[in-house]
């Protein structure tokens, strides 16, 4: 009796939760709609004055110390006039810039800006002088000819990056990084801009379609595990030799000890 009386005067215990959920869905949905709207706007209008202004502000706050207020370059950083949007998108988009420290080459680190901010920076720098643009989607989607890409990769890239894209050493502490988790856009941008110690592969050297094939090959290697089992880092005979000495012979010697321990 008492219980039923109480019930009639109160809301359902889950009502608060339901209300909260409803509120969150609305706010989140509204936010998502607005933010995706702005992102679409930013990408739709790369050369809009607003994008370039935002990019300039970001540049002056984060990059001007080394590259100069007008990106004209200083003693500690090169001029960025004419490097193009692709260069900025690669360097900032992979976290190499702003640079963590002076060294043989800029190292990857967690990306400091949102995608939108990266694009704003890129279009600001692109507005200073003509240079390679961020590639179109169909060039980096991995839909090309993997066999042609693999051959081009072996001839042009493997001497530094290793045939399986596992990376390799250069002189004086420089190195070619592994390509095992680099996106197609960044691979393309690296080829056209030649970041750090990498040479530039322009469109006369390797055509955009060939670049697409190279990306296709690298995506194939990224997406398909080795048919032979664990790759051991794709490092070749050094990893294989270490493995057989430590784990192969190690296991066998442990077994010999076990066999002879049971002698008596």
């Amino acid at each position: 009796m008492n219980r039923s009386k109480r019930r009639t005067g109160r809301r359902h215990p889950l009502a608060t939760v339901a209300l909260l959920a409803l509120g969150l869905v609305f706010t989140g949905g509204a936010y998502a709609a607005i933010s995706s709207g702005t992102a679409a706007q930013a990408e739709a209008e790369p050369t809009s004055q607003q994008t370039i202004e935002e990019g300039k502000k970001l540049f002056q706050a984060n990059c001007a110390t080394c590259h100069g207020l007008e990106a004209q370059g200083t003693g500690t950083g090169p001029s960025l006039i004419g490097v193009g949007a692709a260069s900025v998108d690669f360097q900032v988009g992979t976290g190499r810039m702003p640079m963590q420290m002076q060294g043989p080459q800029a190292q990857e680190k967690p990306v400091q800006f949102t995608d939108e901010q990266v694009k704003q920076l890129a279009y600001y720098v692109a507005s200073l002088g003509p240079g390679p643009d961020i590639p179109e989607d169909h060039l980096v989607d991995g839909g090309g000819d993997a066999a042609n890409g693999a051959e081009l990769f072996r001839i042009n890239c493997a001497m530094c990056h290793n045939v399986a894209g596992a990376g390799g050493a250069l002189t004086e502490g420089k190195y070619a990084p592994p390509l095992t988790d680099v996106s197609g856009v960044h691979i393309y941008e690296a080829m056209v801009t030649g970041p750090q110690n990498m040479p530039v592969f322009n469109d006369l050297n390797i055509s955009p379609e060939d670049k697409r094939d190279i990306i296709t090959y690298l995506k194939y290697v990224q997406d398909n595990r080795s048919p032979g089992g664990f790759e051991l880092g794709s490092l070749g005979p050094v990893a294989e030799g270490l493995f057989i000495w430590i784990f192969g012979l190690g296991a066998i010697v442990a077994i010999t000890v076990w066999i002879t321990a049971k002698s008596n």
Binding site: P104, H161, V238, I244
Partner: protein, 552 residues
């Protein structure tokens, strides 16, 4: 063997085994041989099985290799690949490469067998290496086994040849680069270099003949030699008996251990299947030599991180460690000392290892047979020489992966190279002195334990207030292991029959002094008795025995 027949002519009921053995024996007279061989004793120690690891891996290599020959085609004719591996579709390559890809992707179980063959080959040579280290450090190469050391070492070289020829067969980018290095080394030799290279490759590198020629070596000549030498090697083991470690009842005249039949044969047979199984597991789970990544050989590309298989690494490393500028033009010819010096140094190193048993026999002047294996500490100079050799080899070996060391430890390539150059040149001396001092210290410790017992951890307060730790004496069985070893003294320089001291003798005396001037002699009976008289006089015998039994 006689078969008993019952008086009325009917055979008594016989088991199938005994009937079959009788049948075989009446036609072959094998019983005497089995009886003799089956009663050979095989001393038991884990390190005595390392040679078997090599042998069993070799058997696995033979079995898997036979399977591979069914499908591999050793031809360098050009074809367009049309198998199932997408990133190579339509690429021009040799038939050798295409058939290896077919083995990997289109022959049922082919990739598994290919990987098992390669892993077993790596384990084969690693097993030989560890087995040789055991033989070296225990002095098991001494008379009468010097020739067997030579046979074994030749097999080690042949195994490396097997490995290298096999590695080159798929005609992929990695192995092609390896062959190019070999070609460069051959061409670097004065006078004969270019001629030899053209003879080997049938013209200018790479030509169209080399894979077929390597295939003949790989599946015909080298395996035949290896099998013959394995037979000789094992025959020697039967003739000489196996060595054993010192222990009571083990002498220079016997071999103590379980007999081959049934115990040892069962164990070894089981061990074969264990080795087979471990290799099968490794081959199932771990990629080796992914030629589909390397692609077909083409003289222009070289991949970063290109190395030979581990056993050739020391030679590759030697080339990497030579400083720049050792190549010059003289008399209108190029003299490549960057290639000649490693060739000469490594050749010298290999010859020294090969003839080491004869050097040591000459230094000691010891003509006796040795069937008791040394503990490494009891021959400090030999152990130290071994440590120096291992350091030298390891430095060269590490240099073959200098680029991988640089990227994986965030070092500069130049820093790695310079550190390894120092390791290869200075490291052996440091290793020599450290190893020798450690051996002598361990010998002193053994001596201390024999004379005064080991620390028991039991602290006793004497009536006068003094604390002492009780040292427990060793039992006789353990003591035997610590006191029974040879200790050589430096040779005395004496005039020969004609009253002269020759230069040879002077050299020999000097080397002998270097070998044996720092020595810890084994404890003699007199020393032992004196020490025991000192310790044991006050201790009641009963307490001593109680202490000993509690220790076990």
């Amino acid at each position: 063997m006689s078969t008993a027949t019952s008086p009325n002519g009917t055979q008594p009921k016989q088991s199938f085994t005994s009937a079959a053995s009788v049948y075989v024996n009446e036609r072959t007279s094998l019983a005497g041989f089995v009886k003799e061989l089956g009663r050979k004793a095989f001393p038991d120690h884990w390190s005595f099985l390392l040679g078997e690891v090599a042998l069993f891996s070799f058997v696995v290599v033979l079995i898997t290799g036979t399977f591979l020959t069914f499908f591999f085609q050793a031809s360098m004719a050009e074809v367009h690949y049309d198998g199932s591996y997408v990133p190579l579709k339509g690429v021009e390559m040799s038939v050798a490469m295409a058939s290896t890809l077919d083995i990997s992707f289109d022959v049922r179980g082919g990739l598994f067998v290919r990987q098992m063959h390669h892993w077993a080959a790596l384990l084969f040579i690693a097993g030989i290496g560890l087995h040789m280290l055991r033989i070296f450090f225990t002095g098991a190469f001494r008379k009468p086994r010097e020739l067997n050391w030579v046979v074994g070492f030749v097999m080690f070289i042949l195994a490396m040849g097997e490995g290298f020829t096999g590695y080159s067969l798929p005609d992929d980018l990695l192995s092609g680069n390896g062959l190019r290095i070999i070609d460069g080394m051959i061409k670097g030799m004065p006078l004969i270099g270019t001629w030899t290279s053209f003879l080997l490759f049938g013209g200018e590198f790479p030509g169209t003949a080399i894979v077929g020629r390597l295939y003949t070596l790989h599946i015909l000549l080298l395996p035949a030699l290896l099998v013959a030498l394995v037979a000789i090697h094992l025959l020697y083991v039967v003739v000489h008996k196996h060595t054993q470690y010192a222990a009571p009842g083990k002498t220079q005249l016997n071999a103590v251990g379980p007999p081959i039949l049934p115990t040892y044969a069962a164990k070894a047979g089981g061990f074969f299947f264990i080795v087979f199984g471990v290799l099968a597991l490794i081959a199932s789970f771990f990629t080796i030599n992914p030629i589909w990544n390397y692609g077909p050989y083409d003289p222009s590309p070289v991949s970063a991180g290109t190395q030979p298989d581990w056993y050739i690494g020391f030679a590759d490393g030697a080339l990497r460690l030579i400083p720049p500028g050792w190549e010059f033009v003289w008399l209108d010819r190029t003299w490549s000392f960057n290639i000649l010096v490693p060739l000469i140094v490594l050749g010298g190193f290999i010859v020294m290892v090969l003839i080491y048993p004869f050097i040591e026999a000459w230094v000691t002047g010891d003509k006796r047979e040795h069937h008791i294996a040394d503990r490494p500490r009891n021959n400090p100079t030999r152990t130290a020489i071994g440590a120096a050799g291992v350091t030298f080899y390891a430095g060269l070996w590490a240099a073959a992966s200098s680029d991988i060391l640089a990227t994986h430890f965030s070092l500069t390539m130049e820093g790695v190279i310079h550190a390894l150059q120092a390791t290869v040149i200075v490291g052996p001396f440091i290793a020599y002195f450290i190893a020798k001092r450690v051996c002598i210290a361990l010998q002193k410790k053994d001596r201390e334990i024999v004379l005064h017992g080991f620390e028991s951890g039991r602290i006793v307060k004497l009536p006068g207030g003094e604390f002492i730790e009780v040292h427990q004496p060793l039992d006789e069985y353990d003591r035997w292991k610590l006191v029974s070893y040879d200790s050589y003294q430096p040779l005395m320089l004496r005039p020969n029959a004609r009253g002269k001291i020759t230069v040879g003798q002077r050299v020999r005396a000097a080397v002998s002094r270097w070998f044996f001037e720092d020595r810890i002699a084994p404890v003699t009976r007199a020393e032992l008795e004196a020490a025991h008289a000192l310790h044991h006089a006050p201790a009641p015998a009963g307490e001593l025995e109680a202490a000993q039994s509690s220790q076990h």
